[in-house]
Symmetry: C2
Subunit: 80 residues, 2 copies
């Protein structure tokens, strides 16, 4: 089973990296670009085949290692 974990800064947490990307895009002529936020994408291959168990395990991984839950939120997406 494959999973994707998206880790992004919580709303309200300043994201200078995203801001820099936004400015760079504006300077390149992409004027319709508003706010940009940058996060992390982690693709994980799991041998676990039960969807609920996999999701619980991924949540645990996020809490323990993948995300800094003080300033970051995470989202888990499972692919069969």
């Amino acid at each position: 089973m494959k999973a994707r974990v998206f880790v992004t800064l919580k709303n309200g947490v300043l994201d200078p990296q995203g801001k820099a990307i936004g400015h760079a895009l504006n300077n390149l002529g992409f004027e319709s670009v508003g706010e940009v936020r940058q996060g992390k994408l982690i693709e994980v291959e799991l041998s676990e085949t039960d969807e609920d168990k996999a999701r619980a395990e991924l949540k645990d991984m996020c809490e323990k290692l993948l995300a800094n839950t003080v300033i970051e939120k995470y989202e888990i997406e499972l692919k069969a």
Copy 2:
């Protein structure tokens, strides 16, 4: 219109950061974890409302700035 751009290393390109995460997860006791790959997630807010135009613009952004297309691939996801 909001969009998400996923930038990941192409298959076959070595991903030491992903490997490190994979090992760390294994060491934390997550034994079902196989390959891990790390990528970037970029959330963009666009004032463009036409879906096709937005997609074309995002593709252009990826080619010009967001992804290094020599070693990275990208995926665009639009949310209404």
